[in-house]
């Protein structure tokens, strides 16, 4: 007597399932082996049958009962809990007022459509369609209340249908979808009209049609606002969900970056230099995320010249704790010559950070048609170029030597107490016949 273990769950389920209780445990849907809701595999496991046998029996039953079995299947899906899960979907759906209203609205729409079709042409199709009113309502409730993995299966099952009707924003472009939808609608309309005319072939057709039209008008008038309201509520609900997801995403990022840094800052409050460094680092990360759409710690996939300048800024700030203000104008692909220019610029910036004593270093890079220039400037103590000892080769070798080997120039202007300015220039035409890359969408003032 397996269900004794779950008395609270079972007293909610309709009594007919109790009567079917037999050997084995309680009846549970089997989400692991399912085509739809896993009802067939659940029944098979419950009674000890082969799954395929149960499925074939179900299909036969559907044909014999002209579709009622489908509705029964959906109801079973609703009320039978999944194996290993909590209460049934139906139990959850009872508290989903929005879903119940939506199900009722869809069912009423379907009933209306069936009434109209039935009035025009009552065939076997209609007797098949009536039980599906229940199926549709049940599926709506399942859709809204099923756990995420079951929803995924359903989405997978109806994906082709959605693509045609434009219910969701799928991979196909909105334009193509609406063309497809309009085409299908047009074909249906043409087919319907042709059908009507071929069936009666006379003007007498218009008389029952008039009655039907009146009926449609009446029902639309009565229920239309209600349908509209439900549709609107659905849209609002979806928007709210999207907003909540966005919020969660932002909260996660803020936590990973800003909150962590704030915690670090509180712990290092007695070390102003470290605090400033942390704040700068965080500011830069946040800016690149907010204004350039780059995730923190994301490495530039295609390393361009401007990205290289940013890299220098970041490294020097992190290693030497001196703020670097970088401005880049234009951008271009990186090649060997420009890499050499960047290496020289890095050396000059590191020099400024180590020796100048300035509280900020300016880095300005500009890509023009014919040349790339880069200026490293500080307002620090400066130096006397003549007095630099011969063994300190940083500036002359790493900067000037690098530039002249690549056909560029490096100019250093400095004096004691006047700050230092290193200007690097490299002609572009020799290596870049195509010139600089056009400015990117938001190219200006990168921090």
């Amino acid at each position: 007597m397996g269900y004794v273990e779950h008395p609270t769950r079972w007293h909610r389920a309709p009594s007919r399932f109790r009567q079917r209780e037999g050997n084995g445990g309680p009846l549970r849907r089997d989400p692991a082996d399912r085509l739809g809701g896993g009802v067939a595999s659940g029944v098979a496991a419950w009674k000890g049958f082969n799954v395929t046998t149960v499925r074939i029996a179900f299909v036969l039953l559907t044909v014999v009962t002209s579709g009622i079995a489908v509705a029964v299947y959906v109801l079973a899906w609703l009320v039978i809990p999944a194996a290993g899960a909590g209460p049934s979907i139906g139990a959850k759906a009872r508290s989903d007022a929005q879903g119940i209203r939506l199900a009722a609205a869809l069912a009423s729409l379907l009933i209306l459509a069936l009434l109209v079709v039935g009035a025009l042409n009552g065939g076997w199709l209609i007797s098949w369609a009536w039980p599906q009113v229940l199926s549709v309502a049940g599926l709506v409730l399942i859709w809204r209340n099923a756990p995420a993995d079951e929803q995924a299966t359903m989405r997978h099952l109806v994906a082709p249908l959605e693509a045609a009707t434009g219910v969701t924003v799928g991979a196909t472009s909105p334009h193509r979808r609406s063309v497809l939808r309009l085409t299908i609608a047009g074909l249906l309309l043409l087919g319907g009209v042709a059908w009507l005319f071929s069936a009666h072939g006379s003007i007498a057709l218009l008389r029952p049609l008039g009655g039907v039209a009146l009926m449609i008008a009446a029902v639309v008038l009565a229920l239309g606002p209600w349908w509209l309201r439900i549709a609107r509520e659905l849209v609002l609900e979806r928007q709210a969900r999207v907003r909540a997801e966005e919020r969660a995403d932002i909260a996660a990022r803020i936590h990973d970056s800003v909150l962590q840094t704030l915690a670090l800052i509180q712990r290092r409050a007695d070390d102003p230099a470290k605090v400033i460094q942390l704040a700068r680092l965080q500011e830069r990360e946040l800016r690149s995320w907010l204004f350039e759409g780059r995730a923190p710690n994301e490495i530039d996939a295609d390393l361009t010249f401007a990205a290289g300048v940013r890299q220098i800024q970041q490294d020097v700030e992190t290693r030497y704790g001196v703020p670097v203000e970088a401005v880049t104008v234009g951008d271009t692909e990186l090649d060997d010559n420009l890499s050499a220019l960047l290496a020289a610029a890095r050396e000059a910036t590191v020099n400024a950070a180590k020796w100048s004593g300035a509280d900020v270093i300016s880095l300005f890079a500009e890509v023009e048609l014919a040349a790339v220039s880069l200026v490293v400037r500080d307002r620090g103590q400066g130096f006397d170029p003549e007095a630099v000892p011969a063994d300190r080769k940083g500036l002359s070798e790493s900067v000037q030597g690098r530039m002249s080997r690549r056909g560029g120039t490096a100019t250093v202007s400095t004096a004691v107490g006047e700050g230092t300015k290193v200007t690097l220039k490299l002609p572009l035409t020799a290596t870049h016949p195509q010139g600089p890359r056009p400015p990117r969408p938001s190219p200006a003032g990168r921090p």
């Binding site: 203000e325 401005v327 300005f364 400015p439 200006a444 921090p447």
Partner: protein, 222 residues
């Protein structure tokens, strides 16, 4: 920085961040005359119309329509009130929106107190103030050769291109030079530097360049 404005400029602070307002007020207190504070668009418009300050220090992101809404509401009736935009962001569309609405300058909130006081005095005297990032952005937007997008029938070289001298001045601003340093570097007077920057500001406000109009359109500014 003296000129016609010998007395300290009268300043209204508009920022929805109370902490920031009190910080700026404490720092600027001795150098400018802070006559009022507002924290949203409606109260700012009312306060500015009542006090008619020399300079409004205006946050770009304000509840109730943003900084440009304040500028647009005030500038026609009181063109003598000047606006200096202040923002924590450097997004081009922020910059362009507020400049095209009529601000005389744009600085970021990380600016030092001395520089901010200097910027306020400059704007009070009718000059333009560019941060180094704004200078870089303008150079980018006015790239040397206009792209095909820019060659509209309305293309007016007077407005759509920067002169070489203006470019030089902007480059030095982007390198963190003060106006005085620029004047010395280029062997021109500080007044000439100021007039170059004002001319760039005018082009920024009137140009129909594709990049500028697109960024402005993103903010529904036209």
């Amino acid at each position: 920085m003296t000129g016609p404005h010998q007395r300290a400029p009268r300043v209204v602070l508009v920022d929805d961040h109370g902490l920031f307002r009190s910080g700026v007020r404490a720092e600027l207190g001795r150098q400018v005359d802070v006559v009022g504070e507002a924290d949203d668009v409606q109260s700012a418009i009312a306060l500015i119309t009542e006090l008619l300050p020399d300079v409004v220090l205006l946050d770009v992101h304000l509840p109730g329509g943003g900084g440009q809404a304040v500028i647009q509401a005030v500038k026609t009736a009181h063109p003598q009130v000047r606006f200096l935009a202040l923002s924590a962001s450097d997004a081009p569309e922020d910059v362009i929106a507020v400049i095209r609405a009529g601000a005389r300058g744009y600085v970021t909130k990380t600016i030092s107190t001395i520089e901010l006081a200097d910027a306020v005095r400059r704007v009070a005297a009718g000059d333009a103030v560019f941060s180094h990032r704004l200078a870089g952005f303008v150079l980018d937007a006015f790239a040397a050769t206009p792209s095909a997008d820019d060659l509209k029938p309305s293309f007016d070289p007077e407005l759509e291109l920067l002169t070489n001298r203006e470019r030089e001045v902007l480059r030095l601003i982007a390198q963190g030079y003060t106006y005085k340093e620029i004047a010395r570097e280029l062997y021109i007077s500080v007044k000439t530097v100021e007039s170059h920057v004002s001319s760039v500001l005018r082009k920024l406000q009137l140009s129909t360049r594709h990049q500028l109009t697109r960024w402005a359109a993103e903010r529904r500014l036209t």
